[in-house]
């Protein structure tokens, strides 16, 4: 099985350990990976802020770049939701017939990481070892955009040593919302404060999710408050084994 890793702009820049974990994890599961060196961003930030032609320029690059990929794996549910929910409209409005055709053919080959492991590889026990208490935050785009359902929980529940603690109001947004966290910083912070309350009441050591964007938001506030609980992307938990502790979280 070959797959192309779209690491996303902010993972590349801010959270490279998530990308490295995705590589270790998928190679351990027998996937041959490549990384297109010209990749940058899926265009989500521009699309969600209203900069449509810019978003299209990035979508256009994405579609052309991956048209020959056997599978594209993305460790971020909101970037996958961008491709599934917003690319069709952008392609229809601004794309050439050729690009639209390329997009239609590419779309079924684009996977969020947990979808790829459970659906495409058909694996739930990835052989991970992570001896910690963990709570799972359901990112909005994974939950309501991709309908990933219990896939991440199925993967986490098979991790040796991991004790999963349910999160109250697990389906409620943490208040990140991309530029929303800047444009409506106060309201966003009020939403975040409720999420922190729920996360901290689990007394878990780690809060995990499919998206580093939510985790950057939650983790940024946990750090500000010297709260002790830390955030870690699900790829890093699934990559960690007896032999290697989860990189960047030890």
């Amino acid at each position: 099985m070959r797959a192309s890793l779209f690491i996303t702009c902010y993972n590349d820049t801010l959270f490279p350990e998530t990308g490295r974990a995705a590589v270790r994890l998928l190679e351990r599961l027998g996937v041959t990976l490549d990384f297109h060196p010209k990749q940058t961003c899926c265009g989500q930030m521009h699309a969600n802020t209203g900069f449509r032609s810019e978003a299209y320029a990035q979508a256009n690059r994405f579609v052309r770049m991956y048209q020959d990929a056997e599978a594209v794996v993305i460790p971020s549910s909101s970037c996958v939701a961008m491709v599934r929910d917003q690319y069709p409209g952008l392609m229809q409005e601004l794309g050439t017939p050729k690009l639209q055709e390329q997009f239609r053919s590419l779309l079924p080959r684009v996977y969020e990481l947990s979808e790829f492991i459970t659906d495409k590889l058909g694996i739930e026990d990835v052989g991970a070892y992570f001896p910690h208490t963990v709570t799972y935050h359901a990112s909005c785009h994974g939950l309501r955009g991709l309908h990933v359902g219990d896939r991440p929980m199925r993967l986490l529940s098979k991790v040796k040593g991991l004790e999963l603690i349910p999160l109250e109001n697990v389906d409620r947004c943490c208040g990140f919302g991309g530029t929303f966290s800047i444009k409506n910083a106060e309201v966003s912070s009020a939403m975040l404060s409720g999420k922190l309350r729920d996360v901290l009441s689990t007394r878990a050591e780690y809060c995990t999710a499919l998206d580093n964007s939510c985790l950057m938001h939650i983790g940024g506030a946990l750090h500000r408050e010297f709260a002790g609980t830390r955030t870690v992307h699900i790829a890093q938990i699934l990559a960690s084994t007896d032999a290697t502790s989860a990189e960047g979280v030890a």
Partner: protein, 481 residues
């Protein structure tokens, strides 16, 4: 008491209007508590319907069918309503609707008028116009009465006084009704309101109502409510005026079967709402003998012509999107600067204003999608929010003032970096160097200038790592790949 402005033309932008609420613990507690209660009831009653998704689909297609042939169905409604003894008026905008209503009331020589279930009258700012014409408007919905007496404004589509606590209601009633020793026991408060309102029901001969549905097939109007005060308003007066947006029409009487099921469950978490009034024109010797319907456009036909935004007109004002919205949960309804708050208000108000006002509302959402999930008529609110954002940007980016605006500048720059990987690598490198200035000894950023300050106001940011993923990848041995 009220500094609340529900006029989108003059209301402050959403982030600013939200601040007083965020700093008001009582208000936030009221909103969170009330929405939790309604949401839990709704969830229970939706879960017991095994065909809920089919019902949603059916409701959406009934509204879509009506909207696709709106002119025809409205004419059919008019024809049937007139045949049954009603009078139908067409109002292009708020001013025309106000004029029509005031003319009718003047002809009736009305000095006062009782009102029920008409948010649309808030949209057209009817009450101040009535007052200016020397006509006193009396709200008879319990919540609306509380707000009117307290000189407050509605903050929720279904539960307008959701932000007011019981002890606040007691204080308002005691002061305005002259009942010094009133307790805050709900039954006592309801009894006080009843005594107050009964006098009005029995003495005021003119009434104004809204409409939940207009039935084209029969020329009927349907109003649903919980208190029975609506029934009083709709049956006791001599003259009844119903104000309805043109999107309220549904094709057939039997469509009510679907609409009433989803409305009650979505709005109040009830299997069936307590009072459903459906009437057609005038029944001689029974109920109002003069009946007027004012059909209001006020920006709706412009929405109708737009592919994505058209869904907005499916809305049946159930407020399920407000109750589930994590933003509304923090801010309540007043921050939206319009009678229509929450996610639906964030898309409806800017459109009714043709984006000349309320430009901050499409951004008043984290795009979490909870609203779309609960919407009984499947309005894809996030999709419309994004569409409206694009329209705002297209309008604003042409303005000279926006050239140096940090948000617009940043977005243009980001796109320049994102469309070429060499430029992107360059940006990554310089961001790493530049952010070092702000990175503390612990490796985290605690304070940033300009727009970044909005982030570091409440959150830290981990400093940029020494190596990007792509740099790491380039160092890896290539065999086997």
């Amino acid at each position: 008491m009220s500094q609340v402005i529900l006029d989108p033309r003059v209301a402050p932008p959403f982030p600013k209007a939200a601040l007083p609420v965020l700093r008001n613990p009582q208000l936030r507690k009221n909103v969170a508590h009330a929405t939790d209660v309604i949401q839990a009831k709704r969830a229970r009653l939706v879960a017991e319907k095994t065909d809920w998704q089919e019902l949603r689909t059916a409701a959406a297609s009934i509204k879509d069918e009506a909207l696709a042939n709106l002119d025809g169905y409205l004419q059919q409604f008019e024809e049937r309503c007139v045949a049954a003894g009603g009078v139908v008026h067409w109002a292009w905008d708020a001013a025309e609707a106000r004029r029509i209503i005031i003319d009718i009331l003047r002809e009736e020589q009305a000095s006062d008028v009782i009102k029920i279930k008409t948010m649309t009258s808030g949209e057209i700012e009817l009450n101040p116009a009535l007052a200016a014409a020397g006509i006193e408007a009396i709200e008879t919905d319990l919540a609306e009465l509380i707000l009117q007496l307290g000189q407050d404004e509605p903050s929720h589509i279904v539960v307008p006084a959701l932000h007011v606590s019981r002890s606040q209601v007691r204080e308002i009633f005691a002061r305005k009704m002259g009942l010094e020793n009133l307790s805050d026991d709900p039954q006592t408060l309801a009894a006080a309101a009843r005594t107050f309102l009964r006098k009005k029901f029995l003495s005021v001969p003119t009434a104004i109502s809204g409409a939940n549905f207009l039935v084209a097939e029969t020329g009927s109007v349907a109003v649903v409510e919980s208190e029975g005060n609506g029934r009083m308003c709709l049956t006791l007066p001599r003259t009844l005026i119903t104000l309805a947006g043109i999107e309220k029409v549904i094709p057939r009487f039997k469509d009510l079967e679907v609409m009433l099921q989803i409305l009650a469950r979505s709005a109040t978490g009830e299997r069936m709402n307590p009072y459903t009034s459906v009437w057609s024109g005038v029944a001689p010797g029974d109920g109002p003998q003069k009946f007027h319907v004012v059909l209001l456009d006020n920006g709706r036909s412009a929405i109708l012509g737009k592919h994505t935004e058209r869904q907005t007109l499916r809305c049946i004002r159930c407020a399920a999107c407000l109750n589930t919205c994590p933003v509304y949960r923090q801010t309540g309804g007043h921050a939206y600067g319009s009678v229509y708050g929450g996610p639906i208000g964030a898309i409806l108000t800017p459109q009714l204003q043709r984006l000349e006002h309320a430009q901050s509302l499409p951004y008043a959402s984290s795009l979490c999608g909870a609203c779309y999930e609960v919407c009984p008529v499947k309005i894809n609110i996030p999709e419309i929010l994004i569409e409206l954002r694009a329209q705002v940007v297209n309008k604003e980016r042409k303005k000279v003032a926006r050239f140096a605006d940090p948000m617009y500048l940043g977005m243009r720059a980001a796109n320049w970096f994102f469309t070429d990987s060499r430029r992107f690598r360059f940006a990554q490198k310089w961001a790493r160097i530049g952010l070092r200035l702000f990175t503390g000894k612990d490796g985290w950023i605690h304070s940033l200038p300009s727009l970044g300050a909005k982030w570091t106001m409440t959150r830290d940011l981990r400093g940029l790592p020494q190596q990007t993923f792509r740099e790491w990848w380039a160092e890896q041995p290539k065999e086997g790949r």
